[in-house]
Symmetry: C2
Subunit: 314 residues, 2 copies
């Protein structure tokens, strides 16, 4: 039982209307790993510079995250500077310094090649495919991407999409990738390329999931104080993949439950800056939010009395 993630490891400087974080731990691989580590063993593939803080490594180790795929290279760790307005669905990038991430080339330690669950964070699709081909016998693979790759390497991205079981993607990105505004139509097109599962992430509106012929929706967890949405999608992916790694069957019921856990981990992530919200998640709080989401989304059967009256009314 192990879930592999490849993606960025960053020091993020983020400003929102509710505060600011300076050079704080971030990046896809970090958010994903912390979320997934609540369910399973995580194998992390990524790169940091010599300046990466020791406390960051310590935190990941304390969650039993396997860091044998973490490279440390000469130079600086990837930096991202961004800000959010009240509409926290969209980040505005102020500065990106790829640093050691620019030349990142993921090579898997031998012990990672039999990973059963694989999440390809939004790196260059060429690298995503390289990682995928190094895995001997994956049980369930998923990818995320972003506008940068959709615009610059669409053919390569399409090639990776053909090889994964699931695509987890933002609403604006799936619209851009397919050229279709209607998300149902857009998801159908992505499914037609191969993936059984397409999860469309909609920020504060929750997510839609397309799995085989089924469509399901999970509302966002009702959060009264959203502080910083950085890492929400990666935390979703970590909860989603981590839960699946605990399942005997990867059927519709389990994939739906996985989307609920993804939603829950995302809700922790947005409650504070950097990873500070996410690291507060534990079994009890996850179970409590699961129950809350069930109640939030519950649709009761129409009343028989109501139906009779309806028929009279026509």
């Amino acid at each position: 039982m192990a879930t592999l993630v490849v993606g960025s490891i960053a020091l993020d400087t983020v400003e929102t209307p509710f505060g600011r974080a300076e050079e704080a731990l971030g990046g896809t691989a970090v958010y994903f790993s912390l979320a997934a580590s609540l369910f399973t063993t995580v194998q992390m593939v990524g790169v940091v510079g010599e300046d990466f803080p020791a406390e960051g490594v310590e935190l990941l180790r304390s969650r039993s995250i396997d860091l044998s795929g973490l490279q440390t290279q000469t130079g600086q760790t990837f930096r991202w500077v961004g800000e959010y307005d009240y509409d926290m669905n969209t980040a505005h990038t102020l500065d990106t310094r790829l640093n050691v991430f620019e030349m990142f080339h993921p090579t898997l330690p031998a012990g990672y090649r039999d990973a059963r669950f694989v999440f390809l964070g939004n790196i260059d699709p060429v690298l995503q495919l390289e990682v995928l081909t190094q895995i001997t016998k994956p049980r369930f693979t998923a990818l995320d991407t972003m506008n940068f790759w959709i615009q610059r390497k669409k053919a390569e991205l399409t090639e990776v999409i053909r090889h994964v079981d699931a695509v987890l993607i933002n609403e604006t990105e799936i619209r851009e990738y397919t050229g279709r505004y209607n998300v149902m139509r857009a998801a159908e097109e992505v499914q037609a390329l191969g993936p059984r599962c397409v999860v469309v992430k909609r920020g504060e509106y929750g997510s839609l999931m397309f799995f085989d012929d089924h469509i399901s929706a999970v509302p966002a967890y009702p959060t009264f104080d959203v502080k910083d949405t950085t890492g929400a999608g990666d935390s979703f992916a970590g909860g989603f993949m981590g839960y699946l790694d605990t399942c005997d069957d990867l059927d519709e019921i389990e994939v739906r439950r996985a989307a609920v856990y993804g939603t829950i981990l995302a809700s922790f992530a947005v409650e504070d800056f950097s990873i500070n919200g996410l690291t507060r998640a534990d079994q009890d709080s996850m179970t409590s939010r699961y129950t809350r989401l069930q109640d939030l989304a519950r649709i009761d059967r129409p009343a028989v009395a109501g139906q009779q009256l309806i028929i009279e009314g026509v």
Copy 2:
């Protein structure tokens, strides 16, 4: 058993990426009445000009809608011209000619004063309050509003809000009215003014409902071909209020079911221009969509096996 609606009756000219309608039947009172008439008797209060097409009146009559509150005045019927881009959440108004609607003064026929359910469409809040005070003993009252009144008559609007049981409002409007971005916070503030129930309409993302201390979410019905979203909110209101009018108890369970019916009627409305989608709704198709929404939103309990594995994983 009767539900009263006061609101605009219009001839709409609408262009979307998927087609165009010219001087077609529209307006809050029309959409609301057609939706609510699937559940109950509707009493309509509104005004048309001498040019209002006889077929419009015929259609409303054929649905047993009580038109004794429909005034016909010298002049032209209210005209609205608008267009939508692919993002059909926002209408762009190209032209508004109030015509006879400008001097509209709603006076209720004697037979309307004992209406139990009252929906105040987004007219001048001063008129909304006038209508409300003419009702002897309403059981459940609701209002909608729009940016125009929020900006120009906020104090008057607040006064009506204090007197109704429910506010049905768009997400952007409740943000503007309260000055709060977080919809949970915004809804809390509106509830604090008096209404037990606040429904935040979010277009293709569905709706959130706040009823006493409960929060619930209904996703939008998955529509693969949205043609024209004009009237979706009014159709929602019609399904919502119409269903409630059939209920013995106005408790949380029934109000939640009402929001599902609202969602269903809105889904019919957006499938075609003008009222052409809405008039296709019938008992069978509503029941089928109700079941579909239940399946879409269903959140299964977490598996016991999964939970055990989770505990091991930590």
